[in-house]
């Protein structure tokens, strides 16, 4: 926690921050790898929801280079296993996510990101 699947689903939502607000930049992160049961159907089913470039970039920043630059057209088991690992097994326990556009900092502590906005940031 925060897993990379989650990082791929969260965007800055501060007032007026509607473009270039994704992906959030990872800062000072402490990660841990924890094994998760492999469910190929889940991973395959989630592909259409992913922002691929953001995922690859986040994985590489955290030292995992197993994913190809482009989402492959043919999806085999080996690929799904790598994707499973990246999406579900890498956890960010401490650190922060920062909006590339407005600079808002979303801190992560004990694996829970605080996505609350400040008063002046509410639309």
């Amino acid at each position: 926690m925060v897993r990379l699947i989650t990082h791929n689903l969260l965007a800055c939502h501060a007032k007026g921050c509607t473009s270039n607000n994704f992906p959030l930049k990872l800062q000072d992160v402490a990660i841990e790898v924890r094994e998760a049961e492999f469910n190929p159907d889940f991973v395959r089913g989630f592909l259409p929801r992913l922002e691929w470039k953001a995922l690859v970039q986040a994985a590489r920043e955290l030292g995992d280079t197993s994913l190809p630059e482009e989402m492959p057209e043919m999806v085999d088991d080996g690929f799904l296993k790598n994707l499973h690992h990246v999406l579900l097994e890498i956890h960010i326990d401490e650190g922060a996510m920062i909006c590339p556009n407005c600079g808002h900092t979303y801190p992560i502590s004990n694996g829970i990101p605080n996505m609350l906005l400040a008063e002046h940031e509410i639309g």
């Binding site: 965007a11 889940f42 929801r49 502590s109 609350l116 008063e119």
Partner: protein
């Protein structure tokens, strides 16, 4: 080929029985013959039902997953007297003929809400002698168990049989059933497993085990699905949903509800206790009306017990230490229940995959409730699947199951629903119905008095402290009213 099966149900949450059966039947593609056209005509106050199924395997699947099933049986006979029962058993010899020759067996003679004295149990067993079972009677390891159930007339109103003598009314029943046990309801013991009192982390908003399990079943939770609780609190429904195999996302405006004390978040500690920590996908702190989800159509189901009375507005007063989101109490503004419910359905339409389900509780004033209250929550593409009342007397809460029946794309909700009001509806020639759940919190505190009532009625729980305690059933406590989150592990 369809055969008939005798189901024995728990005498609890009667209105949840059929929705649960239908949900699990849908999950496993089982077809159930109820024997009536209109399911609302079924008498769910009675613990026994005879249902048609395609196979014994289907009966087992239901018994392993439905919380309200106590046991399922091959149905052989029923009657309003033993004479009738035996006639029926004889007529149905083809159903039991194959066990006559050499199958070891034992009998179970039971009455619902009554214990039959041993002597009479023996008499009942002997009255089946004509079946001529040649196998041995084996009390420990019988191959089959033959079950006789008397449906006592003392079910209502004397529910627990406490005020009458043990033997009073023995032998008086409205029906008696006979069949062969197929499977005990193995999901029912989950009530004990998920008992809140035995949980390493819980709080005053935690949802009781039985309801959390029933809710999870309404979501059709199963491996590989992704389910979301946007008001996750201490996570009660996350555990049951994850237990059935689904991944669960949770969020809450109040991080303390999810964390408790200690470094490992409380929800993860409780999830570990149930062996499902790994299926808690992630927990996030945010106001769902100001949510950071990048896209919609992600979830197979949304399961939630919304806060009914306050909207914790997402406001922050500036943090002294940037990495400290410890006790921060956001100022709140009212979030009127009828508006919240409309927003929730709309959010679900955006966040659910086509075919996905929203399962949530809506408290309401029983006397004023009308079916339109629920229909007025819906938007295009969202349809009611089930609506079951948990009755607390003058008020109750309804477990609503809504299905997204459209594949059309919708924008995220704007959360600016204006609650229905008498003023607004007066503008129409025909005044609109004001939902009974509108301003539920206020009505609750007033003891559901009508404004024009001449006589003051007693508050439903007697006093304000009592009201507060009962409102906690609804988890409707503002941070100020909140007592500390209970944390067993510390």
């Amino acid at each position: 080929m369809t055969s008939q099966y005798l189901f024995v149900f728990a005498q609890a949450h009667a209105e949840f029985r059929i929705p649960e059966l239908l949900s699990i039947a849908e999950l496993y593609s089982i077809s159930i013959q109820f024997g009536v056209e209109d399911l609302s005509k079924l008498d769910v106050s009675r613990p026994f039902m005879v249902l048609g199924l395609d196979s014994e395997e289907d009966a087992r699947k239901l018994a392993r997953r439905c919380i309200l099933i106590k046991s399922v049986h091959d149905f052989w006979a029923s009657g309003s007297t033993y004479e009738e029962l035996h006639d029926c058993t004889r007529r149905n010899q083809h159903l039991w003929q194959k066990y006559v020759k050499d199958t070891s067996f034992k009998f179970r003679v039971d009455a619902h809400n009554h214990s039959i004295p041993q002597r009479r149990q023996r008499d009942v067993m002997e009255s089946f002698d004509y079946m001529n079972f040649l196998g041995e009677i084996n009390m420990k390891a019988a191959e089959i168990e033959l079950c006789v159930y008397e449906e006592c007339m003392y079910t209502y109103p004397d529910k627990h049989g406490t005020t009458r003598h043990k033997l009073e009314g023995d032998g008086q029943f409205i029906a008696v059933y006979f069949g062969k046990l197929i499977e005990e309801g193995t999901a029912r013991p989950l009530l004990t497993k998920f008992d809140v009192k035995k949980r390493s982390y819980f709080g005053n908003t935690s949802m009781e085990a039985e309801i959390s399990l029933l809710m999870a079943n309404q979501t059709l939770a199963s491996p590989g699905k992704l389910v979301y609780d946007p008001f996750i609190g201490t996570g009660s429904m996350a555990y049951t949903t994850a237990y059935f195999g689904a991944y669960v996302y949770g969020s809450d405006i109040d991080g303390r509800q999810m964390r408790g004390k200690g470094s490992t978040p409380g929800i993860l500690r409780a999830a570990s206790q149930y062996g499902v920590a790994e299926r808690i996908m992630d927990l996030c702190t945010f106001d769902v009306t100001r949510n950071p989800w990048r896209c919609g159509e992600m979830f197979d189901a949304i399961i939630t017990d919304p806060p009914y009375g306050v909207r914790a507005g997402a406001k922050r007063l500036g943090r002294k230490k940037p990495f400290d989101d410890q006790p921060y109490i956001p100022p709140t503004k009212p979030y009127e229940l009828s508006a919240l419910a409309v927003d929730l359905v709309c959010l679900a339409r955006y966040m659910l995959k086509p075919g996905g389900r929203l399962v949530f509780f809506l408290p309401t004033v029983n006397e004023d409730y009308a079916e339109i209250d629920i229909h007025s929550l819906l938007c295009d593409g969202m349809e009611i699947v089930a609506n079951s009342l948990q009755d607390f007397g003058s008020w109750g809460r309804r477990l609503i199951t809504v299905k997204k029946t459209t594949a059309e794309k919708f924008p995220p909700p704007t959360f600016d629903t204006v609650p229905a009001s008498a003023d607004a509806t007066a503008a129409f020639d025909t005044p609109q119905h004001i939902p009974a759940h509108k301003d539920f919190r206020e009505k609750y505190f007033q003891g559901f008095k009508k404004e024009d009532a001449d006589k003051p009625e007693a508050s439903p729980v007697g006093n304000v402290a009592g009201s507060l305690a009962a409102l906690r059933i609804l988890g409707d406590v503002t941070p100020n009213e909140q007592t500390t989150v209970l944390d067993r592990s510390l």
